[in-house]
Assembly symmetry: none
Homo-oligomer: 255 residues x 2
DNA sequence: ACTTGACCCTCACGCGACGTGAGGGCCCAG
DNA sequence: CTGGGCCCTCACGTCGCGTGAGGGTCAAGT
């Protein structure tokens, strides 16, 4: 049973941490096993394990160990800590976004000689790509911020980039097909995960794609015959399935 | 003029770094002033400063110092470094986004007091948990006595409880994987012991789980695609392996 | 010539959250 | 009684510097 008296190794395995980590938490007094065997072995009681469980949980949220210590004292309301932590993490994200932008401009400078040409894109995407389609798309979306951001990024993508992007798109679609073939509903974990992967793909390769924005895209897949045709050619009903999975995924991230 | 011979203080001011940083770059050989005055003062030439400028630039892009060193050798094209760095930074951003999501759900949970809420369960179980899945499960099993008993118990479980339960589940699964990887058959002692541990886990945490009842569960792991997928994602054939180990374990306890 | 204050030098420890041995006991099965 | 798998306590390494301590150098003012 797990009710009593575990040693470091067992505790480590159960909680997904290393023995050294437990030693460390003991050293700094964060999680102290309340007993030792005569031989000096650490013995973790049920109480110790509860405390450890919380420590592990908060560490996953990125809290520093000393913050966790004060947090577990309970003297200050937990939500305050959470709010501060949220702000700190978001600030870091913003910094890193700017780093990405900086890298992008560096690459733009570095590769002014060779972004991929239309001809190369035709080779990579085959039937899926044509200059007319590109023009059509631009006429419809050219005004949007997403388009501008996407254009700014994609214009310096090399053939290597595009090859990888195409592979990502295909594996993304395949994930939907697999879920559909397995009889899973669009609200299933597998389908929603596929939707989330698709969103991340767009977000990292083309433009900032929030879950709300992704809903719009999903709706378009069933409303716009050009997109619908692409999906229906693979499986009947796939366009609607993808759209529903996207909405389900957005729902679960909305709260 | 800036054409010749600057000392650390001046260089530091011009490039927005500290004197200590220049000392550090000298120590590790990243930017070595090519001269010294008779008194031992560092003297930075124009060449040194060009190198320093690049170092400062790349550091702002988040490169590690040793990466910068190899990068400045010029043996590998710069764009490759940039691409890798971009990918790495974006990956970090994605991680941190998920941390923000987790914090949000935690805060939501904390607002409405005590026993663990759905939001907290999402933080703890991550992708493995969703309210829809719970509803699905309830529709299928809600009539059973096991469900009622489980519901009665779990509704009082706190986040600490659930964190520990998750750890138990994982170490339970790991035991099966270890036996399987070691080439042991489902009828082996190790596999059967893993099955027994899993049964005791359910028995103590959720509902009375006899060996006969456990057989049913085992069959479901291979029959119900939701369960099967969870196991197959870890190792191909694991669902069947677990099912067989459960039956073997039930057999030996039957006599 | 002497002092002052701003600059420079070389150690060397500190941070955060552990990783990674080294060197040595404890315990149980064969 | 021996082997292997646990456990223990040091204690240094990581990464990019910050922050002194203790002491020399230099140009300007007295």
């Amino acid at each position: 049973m797990t009710t009593e008296a575990l040693t470091v190794g067992q505790v480590a395995k159960q909680y997904g941490v290393t023995v050294r980590t437990l030693h460390h938490y003991d050293e700094i007094g964060l999680v102290r096993p309340s007993e030792r065997t005569p031989a000096g072995y650490r013995v973790y009681t049920q109480q110790d394990l509860e405390r450890l469980a919380l420590v592990v949980l908060y560490r996953r949220l990125g809290f520093a160990l000393d913050r966790i210590a004060t947090l577990l004292d309970g003297s200050e309301p937990l939500v305050d800590h959470l709010r501060r932590q949220r702000a700190a993490v978001q600030a870091r994200i913003e910094e890193m976004r700017q780093v990405v932008d900086a890298i992008d401009t560096m690459m733009e400078a570095e590769m002014s000689e060779r972004p991929a040409t239309d001809a190369e894109l035709k080779v990579i995407f085959g039937d899926g790509y044509s200059e007319e389609r590109q023009q059509e798309a631009e006429e419809r979306w050219g005004e949007s911020g997403a388009w501008a951001q996407s254009a700014a990024r994609t214009k310096r993508y090399t053939t290597a980039d595009w090859t990888q992007i195409k592979a990502e798109m295909e594996s993304s679609t395949l994930a939907f097909v697999a879920a559909m073939d397995a009889g899973e509903p669009p609200t299933s974990e597998a389908a929603m995960e596929a939707a989330e992967a698709a969103r991340r793909h767009i977000d990292s390769r083309f433009y900032d794609c929030s879950h709300e924005f992704h809903r719009m895209l999903g709706d378009m897949y069933v409303a716009d015959p050009r997109f619908t045709a692409t999906y229906e050619a693979i499986r009947t009903g796939l366009a609607q399935y993808v759209r529903d999975a996207i909405h389900a995924n957005a729902d679960r991230h909305a709260q």
